[in-house]
Every structure is written in structure tokens, then in C-alpha cells.
């Protein structure tokens, strides 16, 4: 029970962090069809910006300024980069962001150095909020939960209640419709891309000190975000939300269950010994592959249901 409750909380926090990153990508991917490889790079930029800003004016202004900066960068990428290559198709767009990811990583290394930077949790939030069965739950994690919940609410309302939101929503499910409705599609694309990258930046601000702010953080975070977006399905924020939480929980709980395929076979009376074919594979325990489960799930879902969990159209 103890492990269960604590794992649930941890899974939720991690899932929400994933959601913050993935929601921006879902918006971009669903509407523009661009699989943005630079998304995690912007996440990293968000963390670094927040670190630098917080050195001068503190964490709280950084919480606002860093995502704004990231959003501006996103707008620039869209206007001067993506729009240019749009006519060459989605592969070209994807490759552009891929190149950007390489450049951003190098630029970060050149600007902030190769080592982690001491980006710390603000003192105001640096205390244990409560204890569950003797394990502290840091206030900062609660703060992360709060921010991501607020963000989810804001996106939800923004899409439901504003005019632009309604257009975006229409364009999410039927990208070709938006222009038919006579809207300024390039402007909306820029807006969505900027908003998406700003969300990634925000995730960076609050994820950078929760994890470690270093030049490799984009590289490690990138693939998993794709997994969440694809698993959740195109055009569905709800799907993205569920997928994020699901991925957060599955990785958390995989750690807890110490079972392997061999154990499963033992249930059926088949004993796995060293001489059994593939004994090495059968003896792998769940915690060892917990972090790989998302990839396995993504491959499976794409093979059998290419639109993802709640997608409105095929990937």
C-alpha cells in the first residue's frame, strides 16, 4: 500500500511533466503535421534561460520570461524556417527541426558550457510538503502538479472559449478546413508553433531544476515525448493527457513489480533454465525494461492502431 501510494504520486508528477512537454508537440504535430525534433531542445533552452534569468531577477520572473523567450524563438523558427520549407513537404520540415536540434545543443554547450549548471529549486518551495508513510513529498513537486494542471486548464479553456481556439480546434481535426474557412493560416501556424514551444519552455523552467540542467537533457527527453504524442493520437489533447499520465505511471510501477517472463512461464509449469533457448531474454525482469516499455507500447499501438489511443486520424 505504501509503495503504491507513493508510486502513484511519483507517476503522476512525472506524467504531468511529460504532458507539459507533449501537449505543445501535440498541438504542433496535429495541426501542422510537423514532427518537431527541436521540441525537447526548446525544453532544454527553457531550463537554461530560467537558470540565467533566475541568477539576476529570481525564479518567479523566470517562470514567465523564459517561456516567452522560447515562444519567440518558436515563432522565429516557424516564420523563417518552417514556412520556407513547407512546400517541400513534411519530411523537409522534420529534417529542418532535426538540424535545429543539433544546432541548439551545440549553441547551449558553447554558451553555458558542457557541465550541468546549478539551477536550483527556489527556496520558497524547497521544503517537504507532507509525508506519506515516511517518504517526503517535496513542495516543488506539488508546485509542478499545480502548474501543469493550470496549464491543462488554460489550454482547454483557450481552445474552447476563444475564437482562435475554435479555429485551432477545427484545424486540429481537419487541417485542410482552416484555410477553407478563410482564416489566416500562416498566422495561426506561427501562433500554434510559438505557443507549443512556449509550453516546452515552461516545462523546461519547472523541469530543469527538478531534474538536472545539462546539455544532454534534450537528447534524453526527446524520444519519450514523441512516444507520448504518437501514443495519445493525433489531434487529441485528451489522448495526449491520458498517454502522458499512463506513461508516467507505467514507468513508475514497472519498477515495483519484480517479475520476468520466466516467472510467467513458471505459472504454467514451464521452468526456464540456463539451457532454455532465449533464457537471457526470458529472465529479464520488468524493472530492467521499465524505461523501454513506452517504446514497446508505441511500436505495438502503431502497428495495430496507427491513429493512437484517441487520435482522430492516422499518424
Amino acid at each position: 500500500m505504501e509503495v503504491f501510494v507513493v508510486s502513484l504520486l511519483n507517476g503522476l508528477v512525472y506524467g504531468m511533466l511529460l504532458f507539459m512537454l507533449a501537449s505543445g508537440l501535440t498541438l504542433i504535430f496535429s495541426m501542422m503535421g510537423v514532427l518537431n525534433f527541436a521540441h525537447a531542445s526548446v525544453y532544454m533552452l527553457g531550463a537554461y534561460f530560467a537558470y540565467t534569468i533566475s541568477l539576476y531577477v529570481g525564479f518567479w520572473p523566470a517562470l514567465i520570461l523564459a517561456p516567452l523567450l522560447c515562444g519567440l524563438i518558436g515563432a522565429a523558427i516557424e516564420m523563417w524556417g518552417l514556412r520556407r520549407v513547407h512546400r517541400h513537404g513534411h519530411v523537409a520540415e522534420l529534417l529542418l527541426t532535426f538540424g535545429l536540434a543539433l544546432i541548439i545543443e551545440k549553441v547551449v554547450q558553447m554558451t553555458w558550457g558542457l557541465l550541468p549548471v546549478p539551477y536550483r529549486i527556489p527556496e520558497l518551495l524547497d521544503f517537504p510538503l507532507f509525508r506519506v508513510y515516511g517518504t517526503q513529498f517535496p513542495a516543488y513537486r506539488a508546485f509542478m502538479l499545480l502548474i501543469s494542471a493550470l496549464m491543462f486548464g488554460a489550454i482547454w479553456l483557450g481552445l474552447r472559449r476563444t475564437r482562435v481556439g475554435l479555429v485551432i480546434q477545427a484545424a486540429l481535426t481537419h487541417p485542410e478546413m482552416a484555410s477553407a474557412l478563410g482564416h489566416n493560416v500562416p498566422r495561426i501556424f506561427t501562433l500554434v508553433f510559438a505557443a507549443g514551444t512556449a509550453l516546452a519552455g515552461l516545462a523546461g523552467v519547472i523541469g530543469g531544476n527538478y531534474q538536472v540542467t545539462e546539455p544532454a537533457m534534450a537528447f534524453t527527453m526527446g524520444p519519450i515525448v514523441f512516444v507520448v504524442v504518437v501514443f495519445g493520437g493525433l489531434g487529441s489533447l485528451t489522448g495526449c493527457f491520458i498517454a502522458s499520465i499512463f506513461m508516467g505511471l507505467i514507468q513508475t510501477f514497472a519498477v515495483v513489480f519484480d517479475v520476468s517472463l520466466a516467472d510467467l512461464l513458471a505459472q504454467f509449469g514451464i521452468a526456464v533454465t540456463a539451457s532454455t533457448p532465449f533464457a537471457e531474454v526470458l529472465n529479464v525482469t520488468l524493472p530492467r525494461i521499465g524505461a523501454l516499455l513506452p517504446f514497446l507500447l508505441m511500436v505495438l499501438i502503431l502497428v495495430f492502431r496507427p491513429r493512437g489511443l484517441m487520435g482522430t486520424r492516422d499518424t
Binding site: 529534417l95 535545429l100 544546432i103 554547450q109 502503431l302
Partner: protein, 425 residues
């Protein structure tokens, strides 16, 4: 005889590539440059790999993020085969080791292809991404087949050579690589002209139409994937022969990304594009990385410039000159090119200077390196070099814009003429 007349460039290329390492020959010590030979062998291997990648991207329109899986698994198969031969379990001529890699690639291409080719477009790309992650993680976990972190080592000196060569020197290995690269390139070129190759193009262009002329697009994808696996595996087999070791890095995403970079920079549309791209990428990685800390940045910028301004790749750019070449008016472009050269050079040098200055103030200086051009040490803290860099960058960019405009006008006029000339008879 006509075969020879039509295909002489291939043979000339082969001869030149054979003679090429002698440019690096160390006459005083009487030996080949191992570095140059290994680098050229690497280019050969990566060229096969990139060509096989282009069987998917260029020919079938399939964007894969996990092609290295086939390359690496082929390499592991070849390595295990060599060790079995060494142990006397089986007999195989040394020269056919890459074939063992190819068959391994073929097998895994077939098995994994069954899974990944169920989808196309983005879903295909994401499945290959996931699969790549899974296989590279598995390569570290399972010692039996992958040998863990240390990988599988072999000794390529096997005494089973058909030609009586022992492959102790890099030169002999280079010849083997060259031979196989040549054969593989010819086969891949020919494959393009087979029904499967053409239908791969057709499914790339319009998979639905392909269905309504009787083909199952999935089957076409699957078979194309399997064949690409074969050639990637041949590349893997040669990799083993060069380095005599295969580790988990061969299946990694980095390797896959390299193929993508090479194909796109070189041009997916032309057969030789990927080879061109491979040369550029390998030289950037192995050559420029010796000179500059920021080589990764240059790769990224080159890549982006290509994507934005020349999505047809280097080979495509060259191919665009073909009509002028045919009409014999290519030299009329000489002057416009010459005029565009100084601003382009200026832009380029300004950019490089700026990057290097930054890199040296942040990373290089700490390494205790000095920034020197032609023996002259440059003080990265004084404003002068920075001002020069920025000025060169700005002026170069402005000037190039103007020249580019003039160039464009001249180009369009020439192309118009060429088109009319071609249409006349």
C-alpha cells in the same frame, strides 16, 4: 562492348579510387597512411549504408530512424560468422564475410520489416524510431549475442582467402571494401530498374494508385525493406572487416541519423547523391572534428542550409546544370559564379570566424588551446576579430543577396534558352 562504352565512368571511378590512397603514401617510411585508408574504407562502408538507406527514403519514400539496426545486426552476424570460421565450425572465404553480414541484414530486414512496413509515412518513421531504441537498449542488456559493452571482437586474418590475401594491412582491407562497395552500388543501381524498384517509386508517389494496378503496397515496402536490409548488412559486414570489432554503437540512433544526414545533404533524388553526402559527412566528422570543436554546429548549419535552400541535395544541384551542359552553355555561368564567390566566401569565413571565436572563449580557452590562423595567435578577448567577423558576416550576406539575385536572372534566362533549344528539334 557497348556495355563498356556506356559504363566507362564506373570503371574510371574504380581505377581512380584504387590509385587514390597512393596520394597519401608515406614514401620515406614505405607504407600507406593507415588513417587515410581507414577513413576511405569508412567512407566506402557508410556509402553502402547510405545507398541502402536511400532505397527506403529516396526510392520508396520511407523515412526510417532505425536503419542502423539492420546495419548493426548484419555486422554482429558477420562477426559471429568470422568467429565460427576461426573456430573451424564452418568454412567461408574471407572475401565473403560481408555476404554473411548481408544475409543477416536480409533476415532481420525480413523479420522486422514484417512489423514496421505495416504502416507508411510518419507512423513508419515512429515505429522505426521505437524499434531503434529497443534494439540499441537490448544490445547493451543481452551479452549472448551482442557481447555487452565490449561488443564482439574478431580477427580478420583467417587463412581462408580465395585470393590468398591475409588482410593484415589496411590497404588490403581497403581493396576489399572498394570491391564490395562497387558490387553493392552496381546491384543497387540495377535494383532501381527492376519491377520491384519501380513499384517502390510508384508506392512512394501514390500508394493508392499502386494498389489499383494490382500491387500490394505493403508487400512492396516489405520487400524493399528486406533488400535494403541486405545491403545495410553488407555494409555492416565490411565494418567488421575494417575495425575487427562490433559494438552496440553500430545499432544506435546516431548511426541512423548519419545515414539520414548523408542522404539528404547529398540528395535523395539522384543515385549518387548519398555517396556524395557520405563523403561530406564523414569528412566533416573525421576531418573537421580534428580542427574544430564546433564541427557538430557546422554539420547542423550545413544540413539546415541544404534543407532550406537546396532540398534536392548536392547531387540535385549538380543535376540542375545538366540542360546547360547538354546545350554547351555551361561556361556562360562561369562569370556569375565567380561573381557570387567572393561574397559567399566572405559570408562563410565571417560565420566560421564568429563560431570559432565563440567556441574558443567558452570551450577552447578552458582547454588551454590557442586560436591560431597561419601561426598567428588571435586574441579572442580583443574586439577587433569580433568586429571583423560580424562585418564579414553582414557585408557578405548583403552582397550575396544582390549577387544571388543577378545570378538568378541569368540562370532563368539560360534555362529558358536551354529549354527552347531542347524543344526545337
Amino acid at each position: 562492348m557497348t556495355l563498356l562504352r556506356r559504363n566507362w565512368p564506373w570503371l574510371v571511378a574504380l581505377a581512380v579510387l584504387l590509385a587514390f590512397p597512393f596520394l597519401f603514401y608515406d614514401w620515406t617510411r614505405g607504407r600507406h597512411s593507415g588513417f587515410a585508408l581507414t577513413l576511405m574504407s569508412e567512407i566506402g562502408v557508410m556509402a553502402i549504408f547510405a545507398l541502402s538507406y536511400n532505397m527506403l527514403l529516396g526510392q520508396a519514400g520511407l523515412l526510417s530512424f532505425g536503419h542502423a539496426v539492420l546495419f548493426g545486426l548484419g555486422a554482429y552476424c558477420a562477426a559471429h560468422t568470422v568467429n565460427l570460421v576461426k573456430a573451424g565450425t564452418i568454412w567461408l572465404p574471407t572475401e565473403l564475410v560481408p555476404l554473411a553480414g548481408g544475409l543477416g541484414g536480409l533476415f532481420f530486414g525480413f523479420v522486422l520489416g514484417w512489423l514496421v512496413t505495416k504502416q507508411r509515412a510518419t507512423a513508419f518513421a515512429m515505429i522505426t524510431l521505437g524499434l531503434g531504441e529497443l534494439v540499441s537498449a537490448a544490445a547493451l542488456m543481452f551479452m549472448g549475442f551482442f557481447g555487452g559493452e565490449g561488443g564482439i571482437t574478431i580477427d580478420r586474418v583467417m587463412d581462408t582467402s580465395l585470393l590468398g590475401v591475409r588482410y593484415t594491412s589496411p590497404w588490403q582491407v581497403y581493396c576489399l571494401v572498394l570491391g564490395w562497395a562497387f558490387v553493392a552500388a552496381v546491384l543497387m543501381r540495377l535494383q532501381m530498374q527492376t519491377p520491384l524498384g519501380r513499384m517502390a517509386n510508384a508506392t512512394r508517389d501514390n500508394f493508392e494508385r499502386a494498389q489499383f494496378v494490382g500491387y500490394d503496397p505493403r508487400r512492396v515496402r516489405w520487400m524493399q525493406f528486406t533488400l535494403a536490409g541486405f545491403f545495410a548488412g553488407v555494409g555492416g559486414g565490411l565494418y567488421v572487416m575494417i575495425y575487427e570489432i562490433v559494438t552496440f554503437d553500430t545499432v544506435s540512433a546516431v548511426k541512423s541519423a548519419n545515414a539520414l544526414l548523408a542522404v539528404y545533404i547529398g540528395g535523395a533524388g539522384a543515385f549518387f547523391g548519398p555517396v556524395l553526402g557520405t563523403i561530406v559527412v564523414v569528412l566533416l566528422q573525421s576531418g573537421v572534428s580534428l580542427l574544430s570543436n564546433a564541427w557538430l554546429l557546422y554539420v547542423g548549419v550545413l544540413f539546415i542550409v541544404m534543407v532550406m535552400y537546396a532540398p534536392v541535395g548536392l547531387a540535385g544541384l549538380i543535376g540542375m546544370h545538366a540542360p546547360l551542359w547538354r546545350t554547351g552553355r555551361l561556361r556562360e555561368l562561369l562569370l556569375p559564379y565567380l561573381r557570387a564567390l567572393p561574397p559567399a566566401l566572405m559570408l562563410f569565413l565571417g560565420f566560421v570566424l564568429l563560431v570559432e571565436l565563440t567556441s574558443f572563449t567558452t570551450i577552447g580557452a578552458a582547454q588551454g588551446k590557442r586560436f591560431a590562423i597561419g601561426g598567428q595567435t588571435i586574441d579572442t578577448t580583443s574586439p577587433l576579430p569580433w568586429a571583423i567577423a560580424v562585418a564579414a558576416l553582414g557585408v557578405g550576406a548583403f552582397w550575396l543577396r544582390r549577387e544571388a539575385h543577378a545570378f538568378r536572372l541569368r540562370w532563368d534566362a539560360l534555362m529558358e534558352d536551354a529549354k527552347r533549344q531542347a524543344g526545337a528539334p
